[in-house]
Amino acid sequence: MITSETIAPRVAFGETLVELADRYPDLLLLDGDLANSTRADILNNARPDRFLEMGIAEQNLVGVAAGLATLGFVPWVSSFAAFIASRDLDQVRVVVAQPRLNVKLAGGYSGILTGSTGKTHQCVEDIAIFRAMPNMTVIAPADGVEVRAAMTALMEHDGPAYLRLTRDASPVITPRDRSFEIGRAYLLREGSDVTLISTGVQSVRTLEAADLLAAEGISAHVLHVPTLKPLDVDAIVAAAARTGAVVTAEDHSIIGGLGGAVAETLGEHRPTPLRRVGLRDVFGESAPNAPLLEKYGLTPRHVADAARDLLAGSRA
């Protein structure tokens, strides 16, 4: 359910770091000179002894985290998704993922809603990149409440992980009393005509799409998949079986992200008519959020249109 409360996921990230730092003496945050954007500065202001500035040097940033992890620290690497998934990718492979070190990568400003910074600072391929990397766990929370729950779960998970964060405030859809289970998908709404599957903050717009469809008499079953890896295959197959028609939606490329993952899963386990909503093999551009969502096809209306088209096509 979409509540009236809004939280910026990046603020939830900073506030949760403070909370977890007090519970976990080994938690450290390594910043790449972006703390006042990613809001890791909330930790620096509250617990400066847990905050290590590493400067504008993202390759070294990841390597230092790996070294700290060998001593039992739990380092959180904080930068923009675009830089973590590209500038220091070889470092993530060789000193984090391959030796399975307990480093948490927090990719801020993921997707295209990055505060008018444009394609260099947007990231539409991070899910695809980290899904393809052995040993990585990949999580994209729906809202600030789920950011906190996912970070809490990640502190109890020993291994490399990528947390996909978004910048701007968005409505809360996650119940506060629900604990986060890595690898589990969550049913947001029951329906019988079409299954909508989405991840990250896009799940808010997907719920809005379900409302639009309901107004037309189409009943949507909505599954939120915050963990892109390991994927909740059973939940995806069951949700597809429920309606026999699936639309995926994500603020990411349709190649290799949630849409790709669902297509692979259903292709292998339960072939089902499918439409993927997301960036269609293009980079973004700088603009305010509303025109970006409109131009790149991520609004609730785009998701509803895809569902309607799919149903019309499969009936034909």
């Binding site: 290590l52 590493m54 400067g55 040097a57 390759q59 070294n60 990841v62 390597g63 230092v64 985290a65 790996a66 070294g67 700290l68 992890a69 060998t70 001593l71 620290f73 380092p75 070889d90 470092q91 492979r93 060789v94 000193v95 391959q98 030796p99 399975r100």
Partner: protein, 288 residues
């Protein structure tokens, strides 16, 4: 026994170990018909000095929290490290025969998850100093007095990440961190026409670059065991708050006459004749 006598015996024993290491490097690479030679041979004396004298380690306890850490950032020289670890008793010398074979703990490039005694996984050049920085920061935070040694190639330090790490190490005042540059003047293929014979790394400014990044710089002949020992034993005793780099002037392929200073022997399978000639060179060569 007088201290001088003890020291001389130790020097002789280390020189013998270095000869053993070179012999095992050649034999292993010959058997595997794969792997690197030039870099492991240039690093052998320093690896022996570190593991048989300088570093606080215990082969029986490879995960001992207080141990000194060593990162072979030039991970392609893995066979050099493996032979020294085996000679030091971390695993049986016979296991060297599994180098590069399927299921071996001795991976082509060091895999810290595969073999106890390896403090970091490496192989992609330019990356090792950064985890060393993390270990040195972590040691200070934990109040542990272990030292972290990182060996890099002189070709490797062309990588930008090395200088990211060098900057941060100085910024965090990591006087518990020692970088060692195996300065053998040859990477894999190098810069055409850069040096006299056309294919060498030419870095006369190498010391000045580290100094400019706030490091204390020591230079040593990386094959003079007495000098290597003196330098590495005291490398951590610089000015408080200053990381130290040891620039070890070495010869790529050291100990095998036909490999010395020849880029082609960076990595190359050996024929039976070449193996025999190399082993004869090594046993004849009284390396200093």
């Amino acid at each position: 026994m007088a201290t001088v006598e003890v020291e001389n015996q130790q020097l002789q024993s280390l020189r013998d170990r270095a000869r053993d290491a070179r012999r095992l490097i050649v034999e292993t690479i010959f058997e595997a018909q794969a792997g690197h030679l030039g870099g492991p041979l240039s690093a052998a004396d320093m690896l022996v000095a570190l593991y048989f004298d300088v570093m606080r380690i215990d082969p029986q306890r490879p995960s001992w929290p207080d141990r000194d850490r060593f990162i072979l950032s030039k991970g392609h020289s893995s066979i050099g490290l493996y032979t020294v670890l085996a000679l030091r008793g971390f695993f049986p010398v016979a296991e060297l025969a599994t180098f590069d074979a399927i299921d071996s703990r001795l991976q082509g490039h060091p895999d810290m998850k595969a073999l106890p005694g390896l403090d970091m996984s490496t192989g992609s050049l330019g990356q090792g100093l950064s985890p060393g920085v993390g270990m040195a920061i972590g040691a200070k935070r934990r109040g542990l007095d272990f030292r972290t040694y990182v060996m890099l190639g002189d070709g490797e330090i062309q990588e930008g990440q090395v200088w990211e790490a060098a900057f941060v190490a100085a910024r965090y005042k990591l006087d518990n961190l020692v970088a060692i540059i195996d300065h053998n003047r040859l990477p894999q293929y190098s810069w055409p026409n850069a040096g006299g014979e056309g294919l060498t790394m030419h870095q006369p400014e190498i010391a000045a670059r580290w100094q400019a990044f706030g490091w204390r710089v020591l230079e040593v002949d990386g094959h003079d065991m007495a000098a290597v020992l003196q330098t590495l034993r005291h490398a951590h005793e610089g000015a408080p708050g200053t990381p130290t780099v040891v620039i070890a002037n070495t010869v790529k392929g050291k100990g095998v006459s036909f490999m010395e200073n020849h880029y082609a022997w960076h990595a190359k399978p050996l024929s039976q004749e070449q193996r025999d000639a190399a082993l004869a060179d090594i046993s004849a060569g009284g390396n200093s």
